[in-house]
Symmetry: C2
Subunit: 388 residues, 2 copies
């Protein structure tokens, strides 16, 4: 098959060209290889951002890249190109927006954006690499697959999506695997843990090192949203709250049975974990503690359990009435939160209230705010503890 | 598993709420269920677009939603909310941007954006439904899966992504399937044919109706780009043309062997098709006609074969020197183009030059410009002709 490849490759190189080629004699059209470069990560881990906007009179940079500082002004050159250099930033993933006349917009040159549900603004991301491949980078190890699965949700009455990670070698194996149900945050959809979180590469790397047991990861859609295409999602009529009552029903009655029917899952509580971040952390703790017969591993990362999000006393009353049962049933109850997170106090107090009742709970306090760099670390650290 | 679901669902409904709940007494934070609604498709197939920008002095709507007309001014209310209603639009997928001070930005309330490679601006999409489910909608039929596959490209020396559609029931079957290699356009990446094109649902529906043979669809990345996360892609140093000479090498030496090793493909030319749109159409025709021993179905949709993109005489000289061989080798050679497409004349002339040499070629002329609604139709129509 390969002997004619050099010929066609050379042919393409010689005879096919972009619209900016001098051969064409036509006006240049931007192509991915010659268009504006933004963001550009520099060797010192500063990040240069560029934005072509001759008509704008002021443009700022805002977001996580400012590391808690206010917006930074960008500088305009004679051609209308706005530039700013921010940082240096720690290795990781950081959000930013351009602010034009008070309007936050994503960087139009940057395809890396946070996938969001309908109604939330689009944010750009920049990845700042460290000195060596990170635990979340695609390394030269066997890779699992991520499958986009379409299903009819009886609980919601609509077509929905799941993203499912299968570990390396899944297709060639006949083994059954434990399953982690991994829930996204309020501002995201079912693709968040892969697109932003790199859950697939985190597990590929842990498995290659022998630090995590090969597992399936199921990433459901945590809002009451209906599938349209793959990314776009349509709100289900009548939904008015962040924590939809339809989600636990969808997870328990549709998603888990589908997974255990169609994938080689080990269908018992010792081999089911439920974890999530922010809204998904609140869901994981609420559903997990109410269903200790289904999940023996329950984890909340920066869980949205503070008073503006839920009445935690009411949500957890039934579970906490029997702390001995929690210790008997669960193999791991884990809460983590960054000390700069706005949810830190709520998580610390919840952990302490559990400990006061004699419940065995891990409270993992880390550095960091309510950001993806923290949650990648949380998954990396806690996935190694599952199903052992 | 299910008997405690109503309890937890009711608990969540009662005790977990969004930040806009009057119970919280805290400032409202936008959540997906109460934030700005844009786009809104009305019953008459007009589309209302909304944009909150109190500081802006003029905002226009531009893009395919204007159906060839110039930008339309939006109207601002006392709260700084800009609104415009465009259309009515034909059922299908249409792009748009908001233009603020000459800057085109995506609709920040709309998660449906065209996935783009680095350096191209982000565009919003709106889906306008027809009176009944379309051939590209998720219908209540068995669904295939779309798999995100990570691989090391020896041809490019980097980690890359493929998206692969497997037909309904693939996992439970032991059959082998024909394979369609389906290439995206210049302004897109490997996810374009699913996210914008709905190739998965188009095939699900055709297969359910018995109109297409169950097949695997392989969607490679057609630029010389390296994987970072799943969506973001990093340009490979030194690449300066739209048609990278590295792509045919990657496809032929890395992708096809990987597919035929890891998936149940029928590994012969009668069961390989290559098709693509725009840039991908040019690639499909160039690679397919140069490798008639590998592909017996060769299709270009709105192929970028005009003078500003390639020297077609040179690219196709060798294949056209032997028109009898083309007729003997290929089971289908298909060119399609919308009559309002800027590439229409080039495609029509190329088809006529083939016909002048006695080559059997289908020239499918349709209504429409260089837009996704045309390419969904092209795939729907031509997938039914493959592997028969």
């Amino acid at each position: 098959m390969n002997k004619s490849v050099p010929a066609i490759a050379a042919l393409l190189a010689g005879a096919m060209y972009s619209q900016t080629s001098p051969r064409s004699g036509r006006p240049a059209i931007e192509t991915p290889v010659n268009a504006l470069r933004s963001p550009e990560v520099n060797a010192d881990r500063t990040v240069t951002l560029r934005f072509r906007a001759p008509g704008a009179t002021a443009v700022d940079v805002a977001g996580e890249v400012m590391m808690g500082k206010g917006p930074q002004h960008m500088t305009k050159d004679a051609d209308g190109l706005w530039t700013a250099t921010v940082g240096p930033l720690a290795p990781g993933i950081w959000s930013y927006n351009f602010r034009v006349q008070g309007i936050d917009i994503p960087d139009p040159s940057n395809p890396s954006i946070k996938p969001v549900p309908p109604g939330l603004p689009i944010t750009s991301f920049v990845e700042v690499p460290g000195e060596s491949p990170a635990f979340y980078d695609a390394q030269r190890v066997p890779h699992g697959e991520v499958r986009i699965v379409t299903y009819e949700s009886k609980a919601m009455g609509v077509t929905r999506f799941l993203w499912i990670y299968t570990p390396p070698g899944y297709d060639r194996s006949s083994a059954r695997f434990p399953v982690l149900y991994l829930l996204h945050g309020n501002g995201e959809t079912q693709d968040g843990w892969v697109a932003n979180g790199r859950a697939n590469f985190i597990l590929d790397n842990l498995i290659a090192e022998g630090k995590a047991r090969p597992m399936v990861i199921v990433m459901p859609q945590g809002h009451a949203l209906q599938a349209a295409g793959v990314a776009p999602l349509v709100r289900i009529a009548g939904e008015t709250t962040m924590y939809s009552e339809r989600f636990p029903k969808d997870l328990l009655e549709d998603v888990i049975p589908l997974v255990e029917k169609n994938y080689r899952a080990i269908p018992d509580a010792d081999h089911r974990a439920i974890a999530g971040l922010s809204m998904g952390g609140g869901q994981a703790l609420a559903i997990g503690l109410a269903h200790q017969d289904l999940f023996h591993y329950v984890l909340g990362y920066s869980a949205a359990i503070s008073a503006q999000f839920m009445d935690a006393d009411e949500v957890f009353r039934s579970a906490l009435a029997n702390p001995v049962a929690i210790n008997k049933n669960l193999r791991l109850l884990w809460l983590s939160c960054g000390k700069q997170d706005f949810l830190y106090d709520a998580n610390r107090r919840f952990a302490e209230s559990l400990q006061d009742k004699g419940v065995k709970v891990t409270l993992r306090e880390t550095e960091g705010a309510h950001v993806w760099s923290v949650w990648r670390n949380n998954l990396h650290e806690s996935a190694a503890l599952l199903f052992r």
